[in-house]
Symmetry: C2
Amino acid sequence: MTVNPRATKEITQAVHESFEHTPSPRLRRIMQSLVTHLHAFVTDVELTEDEWAKAIEILTATGHITDDKRQEFILWSDTLGVSMLVDALAHPAPDGATESTILGPFYVPGSPLRPLGSSMAEQEAGTPAHIFGQVRGLDGKPIAGAELDVWQNGDNRLYAVQDPDAPEFHLRGRFRTDDDGRFSFWAVRPVPYAIPDDGPVGKMLNATARHPWRAAHVHLVVKAPGYRSLTTHIFDAESDYLDSDTVFAVKESLCLSFTEHGADDPGRPEHVTGPWVSLDLPLVLAPSDGEDGVVTDRGRTH
Amino acid sequence: MTVNPRATKEITQAVHESFEHTPSPRLRRIMQSLVTHLHAFVTDVELTEDEWAKAIEILTATGHITDDKRQEFILWSDTLGVSMLVDALAHPAPDGATESTILGPFYVPGSPLRPLGSSMAEQEAGTPAHIFGQVRGLDGKPIAGAELDVWQNGDNRLYAVQDPDAPEFHLRGRFRTDDDGRFSFWAVRPVPYAIPDDGPVGKMLNATARHPWRAAHVHLVVKAPGYRSLTTHIFDAESDYLDSDTVFAVKESLCLSFTEHGADDPGRPEHVTGPWVSLDLPLVLAPSDGEDGVVTDRGRTH
C-alpha cells in the first residue's frame, strides 16, 4: 500500500492555513515556515509511528535533564549546527573583520574587570599563555577602551561554572584596551574537552559515530562603542578536533598558532615558573550599523 | 549587511556530512534529512539570535511541564499537525475501509471487556448514546470476534485518566463482535473539549489566534486477526469545531449523525430515563498485509 501524496499535502496545507490569522506577521511567517519544513521532513523520511514515539521520548528526556546548569536543548542546537547557522545569519562579517563564532553554553555575565597584563587563572590550570594584541577598526585605526570579555576551560577540561572546586571568577575576566587599542593578559593554553555526553545528545553522537569533542579554544566577546560586538573563539592551531569540532564552530581564520617558550627563555616573567606560550592576537571590529551590540545571556536558563 | 548564502550552505553541508558514518542507514537518512529541513527553516526565516533564545526557552518550558500525566511534546506534535501526518503516512486506507485518525494522548491500555449492549458510563456523564453496527471486511464479509477498544470524555469535558473523581474504567471499554460481526454498546453523546492550554502550546495557540478546542468525538481502536488495526474517532456531525479541530484530526467520512430520541420514544430502554441518541456505525477493515496491528501505547510516557 503506498501513501497517498494528496492526503499528506492536504494536512500540511490545513496546518499552514491555521496560522493565517496570526496577528504578528513575523510570528505568522515563522510558524508557517516551521510547518512547511517540519512536514517536509516527516514526509520525506516517511517517519513511522514508532520513530515518532521515539522522538517524543528523546524530547521528553531532553527536557527532564535540562536545568539551570545543564542546557540539553542548546546542546542539540549546537551539535545539529543550528547555533552556528544562527550565528552566520546574525553576524555576516565584512571582509577584514575578525570572524564570529558561537557563544556556547558556558558564558556567565559579570566577570571581573582585570588590569592589563594580569592573569585570569586564579589557581593552577595548565600551561600559562600570554595573549596580547591590538583591537582595530576596518580602517586600521586602533580602538581605545574596547572591552574584551574572556572565558575558557582549564586543563581539568572544566569551566569554572562547571567546577564546584574552582573560584567563581577562575579563568574569566574582562580587559580594556589602552589608548593605543592594545591589550595583554595571561590565560592558559586551552585543551580540548567533551561536551556533556551522558544525556540524549550523547546518545545521538554515539549512535551516529560522532564524537563529543570540541577543539581547544578561548572564548572572547569584544565590544566598543560605534562597532559591532564580536563573539568569537581563538582556536589553538595545534589542537586535535579542528576538523571535527562537535559544534561546527571552527573557522580557519580563528585558528592561531601559539609560540612555545622554554622555562629558560630570557623573556620569562617572574610569575611563570616553567614553559609558557604566547599569542599575538589581532582583533578587527566592523563598524556598528546602528544596532547596539548587547551580549545577551542566551546560553543559560534562568 | 547581507548574509552570505555560501557561508550558511557550508555550515549545512558540514553538519550533513558529519552524519555520513552513521552505522544505521535509516538513522543516517533521518538525521541528514532533519539537518536539511531544520537548516532550511532557520535560513528561510533568517532566525535571529533572540528568536533562537526564545525557542530554547519554549522547548525548556515544554520539557519542564511534561510529566507522566501531561505530555506537552505530543500536544506540539498534535497542534502542528505532525501527529496526523504520521498517521496518514502509516495508515493509507484503501478505498472503502474506514479512515483512521490519531490515537491522542488519553488512550490507556487495559480497559475492561464489557458485554455487548452494556454501558461504559459508570456514572452520570451526559446524554446516553446507543452505538451499534457491524464490522466488515472490504469484501463486505462480517468479521466475528473483532475487538473494539472505546474511550471518550464525559460532559465535564474530562477523560477518566484526567479526572481524579471518576472511576478508573469510566467511559472506557472493550467489546467483541458477535458471530454476525455485530456490536452494540451504550456511551454518551460526546462534547467538545479544550486540550490543556495552560502551557507553552496554549501560549502558541493564543499568540496565533488559534483556539484549543477539539470537535466532539469518541475514540475507537478496532482489531481483528487478518485485518489491519484501525485507530479512529467517530465525530458528532452536529459538533462545533469540526472545521477547526485544533489537532487537525477530522475527516469528513468520520463525521456521523446521531439520531435524537425523546424520553417518550417507545424504544427507550429501561436504564435510560430521559432523551437519548443513537448511531448506526458501519466499520470496514482492510486486510492485513502481514504486519501485526498491535496498538502501541505511544501517547504516554512511562
